[in-house]
Each structure stands twice: as C-alpha cells, then as structure tokens.
C-alpha cells in the first residue's frame, strides 16, 4: 500500500510541471507587448527597451520560464492591478468562499442525485425512469447563468423567499475568520442569527451550482446500479429471501460506490470551474468572480493565478480519489 501511495504521489510532479508550462505558454499568448503596455503610450523605444530588460522580458523563453516557476514556488504570483494586492493574498481571501459554494453544491448534488439514480434503476423503463431521464438531460442543458437569473426573478424578486445575491446582507460584518467560510465560521463562533442569514444566502447559488453534477451523478448511479442488479450475487441474495430493500441498499449500492467516487471527484472539479458563472450572477465573492472581473479589466495576473490554483486543486483532488480507490479496491494497488 505504501509503495502505491508513493508512486501515485510522485506521478503528480510531471503533471504539475505540465500545468506550469501550459500557463506559461498561455500567459505569452497576449498579442500586446507587455513592455510597451507597462511603459505607456508616450514612451520612447529606449524606455520600452529599459523596461523590457528590467522585467527580464528580453531573456530567452527558457530562462523566463525558470524565473516563472521559481516565482510560483516562492509565492510570488504577481499583483492584481484592480486590488493592488498580491494575487496570492487575494486568492487566499476568496478561495474559501468558492470552496463553501462548491462543497454545498456537491452535498446537494450527491444527496439528491444518488437516491434519484437508485430509484431510476429500480424502476427501469417505467415512468419514474423516463421522468428522471428528462430531468437529467434538462439539467445538463440548462445554462447555469440563465437558470440562476430565472430563480432570482421568481424566488428572490417576486416571491421574496430568499435573498437576491451576495454572501451576506450588505453592511453585515462577517464572523471572525477561522476557515474563511462564512457558514462554518459563524457556526464555530456560535453566532446563530448570522449562521441563518448566511445559510439563506447560500441556498440559491448552491442549488444552481449543483444541478449539472446532480444530473451526471443520477445517470451514473442508475447505470451502475442496473449493471450490478443484473449480476449473480444479487440473484442469490434474492433467492435467499432477502427483501428488495436489503438487496439494493446493502449489497448493490456498496458496489456501485467506487465508480461513483471518481465521478464525485470529477464533478467537484467541474463545479469549481463552473462556479465562475454562478458567482457572477449572485455576486458571490469567490475566485470565479475574481477571475471574471480581472478578465474584463484586462488584468492578467489574477486570471493566471486562478487558473493555476484551480488546476492545482484538481490535480490534488484526482490524487486523493486515486488513493481512495486504492484503499477501497485492493485489486487496483497491484496493477
């Protein structure tokens, strides 16, 4: 087991290197000459050249790349033009909010998706199955930003049931920062009214964020359950006289768990990416909104920072899922 862990962890290194190369290449895609931009419209050619030398932009690309990686590892991820803060500082501020949103949405997605998938499998080809297929395809086709707006219009504006946007009401102070996630922190601090408000603000964004993953999880659980329910050991259990529920929950579901685990890991990553849209509509102060604002202001360092951070999280997530796989299914460790 130890050998498997070490081997798997070492495998991330080339992927991380690849990630840094990709972001380096993308950051050099800009058609504008960064030295000219920094120098300003009235700079002479000499001034531009000086700036170019100062920033090391006249060195060969391979040297620039080494400098780039060294900066990344040292925590120097550039500075945001808008906030005037180092990008890494900004990211540390906003990342917990995105994590809060993604975790909440994954909880909803799994909590609703798994039972729905089981129901669909058990009632295969009857109306609950067809209905769930209709929902699945619908949810996957919904533009999340549009669905968010529709929910805002109906539930928030018209019915007034939930707040329109934001993580907290305006001018409300967040709780003392422990994890950075408002919901968790207000619980830890014991501030229950704040916890309730924060929860209300979280519901709509988390729900909108969850539907994509929910649809995929439902389909996958259904597929896996169908495959397992057809297998011999299930028939044996039924022949033994076990009730349908015992068979489904006790035997079948347990075996469907492993592929679902990968799926959950992947969905987490995609939720992380798609949070950009939900954060924009609900004005949720996460790294997605940070990236969008930066993109619209041609502020490039923050966007690169978000990409690297999300890529890194995704890589680590895949690693965790693979390791869990190794724990749950001993056969994998020996391949």
């Amino acid at each position: 087991m130890g050998r498997y862990v070490v081997r798997r962890v070492l495998l991330i290194v080339p992927t991380l290197v690849g990630l840094s190369i990709l972001t380096f290449v993308v950051s050099h895609l800009m058609p504008a000459d960064p030295a000219k931009l920094a120098a300003g419209p009235r700079a002479t050619a000499d001034m531009v050249q000086t700036i170019r030398h100062e920033y090391g932009l006249d060195r060969p690309l391979s040297v620039q790349y080494v400098t780039y990686v060294r900066d990344l590892l040292r925590g120097n991820w550039g500075t945001s033009i808008i906030s005037q803060h180092p990008v890494l500082t900004d990211l540390r501020l906003y990342l917990p909010n995105t994590l809060e949103l993604v975790l909440a949405s994954m909880t909803i997605a799994i909590g609703v998706g798994v039972p729905l998938g089981v129901i669909a499998a058990v009632s295969q080809n009857r109306w609950p199955d067809h209905l769930s297929r209709l929902f699945t395809i619908s949810f996957v086709s919904l533009p999340s930003f549009w669905f968010a707006i529709i929910l805002q219009l109906t539930i928030a504006f018209t019915l007034g049931l939930l707040p329109v946007d934001g993580q907290l009401p305006t001018l409300t102070a967040p709780p003392h920062r422990v994890t950075g996630m408002v919901l968790v922190d207000s619980l830890l601090v014991g501030n229950l009214p704040l916890l309730w408000t924060a929860f209300q603000h979280l519901i709509l964004p988390a729900f909108v964020q969850s539907i994509g993953a929910m649809a995929i999880i439902t389909r996958m659980v259904r597929g896996d359950m169908l495959e397992i329910l057809g297998q011999d050991f299930v028939r044996t259990a039924r022949a033994k006289g076990l009730s349908a529920r015992r068979v489904v929950l006790g035997h079948a579901l347990r075996n469907a768990f492993i592929p679902t685990l990968t799926l959950i890991g992947l969905s987490f990553g995609f939720s992380l990416g798609g949070s950009v849209l939900v954060e924009t509509v609900f004005d949720w102060p996460g790294i997605g909104l940070y990236a969008v604002n930066a993109a619209l202001s041609a502020d490039f360092e923050p966007i690169m920072g978000v990409t690297i951070m999300v890529g890194f999280i995704f890589i680590v997530l895949n690693l965790v899922v693979d390791l869990l796989y190794g724990v749950l299914d001993p056969r994998i460790r020996y391949t």
Binding site: W146, Q152, R222, V310, G311
Partner: protein, 309 residues
C-alpha cells in the same frame, strides 16, 4: 429504401431473393434497424425535429425577421424596454431593438460557433490521437501527457483564460473553446486506434507492404468514424453552451452582435422589472442545447448501446 436501382442479372454470385448481393442487403437491414431503434426513442426524435427547425431558422432567419435593422443594433429610443406584445413577441431591449429578431439571428451565431469549435477540435484532436494510437511509444507518451495537462484544468476556466489572453471577441472565444475541446477527441481516437491496429486486416495490409499513411487513412480511420461522430453529436450542445457562457462573462461576442449569452448578460442590469431581456435569449440557449443533447443521446443509444446509459 427503394432507390429504383436494380442490380444487373450478371452481378455477384451471392444474389439473394431481393436481387441484391448479400453484403449490401445486410447493411440495408442494419441501417433499417438503426433507424427503427432511433425512432423508438421519442425524446431523440423530438430533439431531431427541434434541431432541424433550428437549422432552418438559422439559415432562413435573417430574411424573415420582423425587424431586420435591429439585428445590428439600430437605436430606437422611443421603443425602449417594451414588454412582450403582439408587435414585439419577446419585447424590446434598452436601445429599442426587437429581441425576437435578435434571438433569431443569434441562432446563426450559436450554431456556427458550435460547428466551428467542433471542426477545429476534431481537426486537432483526431490526427493527434491517430498518431499517438498508431505509433505508440514515445510519441504516444508525449501526446498523452499534453492531453492530460489540458484535461487537468476545468474547461470554462481554461477557455476564459485563453480568451482573455487573446482579447475578447467571438473568434477568440471559438479558438479558446476548440483548444479546450480537442483533448477529448485525441483520447477517443487514440483508444480506437490502439485497439484497431491489432486487427488482422491491419497486419495483412502491412505484410503486403502498405505504407503507414495508407493504413491509417484507408483502413483504420473509417472504422473510428462512428464513435467520433457520436461524440460530436453529444458535444455540440456543450460547445454552444460554453460559447454562450463566455459571451455572458464578456470575453466572447461583443455588442452589438446578437449573441445569446451576451444578451443575457446585458439584460441583468434590468432585472426584475424588465425581465424579458435576459429571459428569452437564455431560453433560446436552453432549448437549443436541450435539443442537441436529446439528439446526441438518441444517436449514442443507437450506435453505442453498451455505454453508460
């Protein structure tokens, strides 16, 4: 499928009762079975109908819109932000343009984007996957590493980054999405090539002395087409969705282009009182993507029923 063509009497010795040679008849039956199977899937048929309608609208649309001038952003201050009515079925926007007209013309934009993204994506991904799968070895490892890196970053974020780097425009957004999409096709093609290159007919071809290129194009590639096309039909909906998302963020199509995502974004300022501005373009996105997904789902069901259902 009676095309009125009859084989001549001196045709192959394996003529059957219908007069067609055996192989032809089998592939006729195959096709008929596939069509019947597709038709049984009601959702897929509906999807096909809607997609057909959309294509017609995209092609014919600009000529039949009620307010052709509005599609390029003509300003009508007197008609600003009017609610849906018989004169303007979807209402008007903040500069007085008819939203229905803009949505109709926007369909052309969205469908074109979907197609171009897929064409570029497969154009890059399929050859790379073929090379990786056929030659194996170091080439394969290198190509797969590159593919993995692209697949590490969530699609929307990478597309956003590339589009922002290149500069906001519809063309750059398309390029960005294609760059995010090609790894999927590379992987698929590689997998197909790896399994197919072991087959006897490939061995035979090589023994006769056929060059690699000929083997790839003439023998293996035609057999990989079906899974690739199934994937394309399932992907086009998401390509359109991603393009709309980039338009919504603001790094895709720029005003006054009537791109659906951009229109939803512009309409946000006018919530909730002038709700129609964001609602109808977004509805168009949903219906389009839904139709393509249903169609893709049905096609996948016909051609690859062992997949995750």
């Amino acid at each position: 499928m009676d095309l009125g063509i009859r084989p001549s009497v001196e045709d192959s010795g394996s003529a059957t009762a219908t007069g067609w040679p055996l192989e032809r008849q089998r592939s006729h039956e195959n096709l008929r079975r596939q069509v019947a199977r597709f038709r049984r899937n009601r959702l897929a048929v509906v999807g096909l109908a809607i997609v057909g309608l959309l294509v017609v609208i995209a092609v014919v649309g600009p000529y039949i819109v009620p307010y052709p001038g509005d599609t390029t952003g003509a300003i009508h201050p007197e008609a600003q932000l009017q609610a849906p009515s018989t004169a303007h079925l979807f209402g008007t926007d903040d500069i007085g343009d008819d939203i229905l007209s803009r949505v109709i013309v926007g369909s052309r934009l969205s469908l074109t984007v979907g197609v171009i993204v897929l064409v570029i994506g497969t154009g890059i991904g399929v050859p790379l996957g073929a090379v990786a799968g056929y030659f194996g070895g170091t080439t394969d490892v290198i190509i797969m590493r590159v593919t993995d890196i692209f697949l590490t970053i969530p699609a929307l974020i990478l597309a956003l980054t590339i589009a922002a780097a290149l500069g906001p425009s519809l063309r750059n957004a398309m390029l960005a999405i294609a760059l995010v999409w090609w790894p999927g096709y590379c992987r698929l093609t590689r997998g197909q090539f790896m399994s197919l290159r072991q087959r006897t007919y490939v061995e035979s071809a090589r023994v006769i002395g056929a060059r690699d290129a000929r083997i790839i194009f003439r023998h293996i590639l035609p057999n990989t087409l079906t899974p690739i096309m199934v994937k394309m039909s399932m992907d086009i909906g998401f390509a359109i969705l991603t393009a709309a998302a980039l338009g919504f963020i603001g790094v895709g199509a720029q005003p006054p282009q009537p791109e659906w995502g951009a229109m939803v974004s512009l309409g946000r300022k006018f919530l909730p009182n002038w709700w129609w501005y964001s609602t109808f373009p977004g509805l168009a996105i949903f219906v389009t993507v839904f139709a393509f997904n249903m169609l893709g789902d049905g096609l996948r069901d016909v051609f690859d029923p062992q997949g995750v259902r």
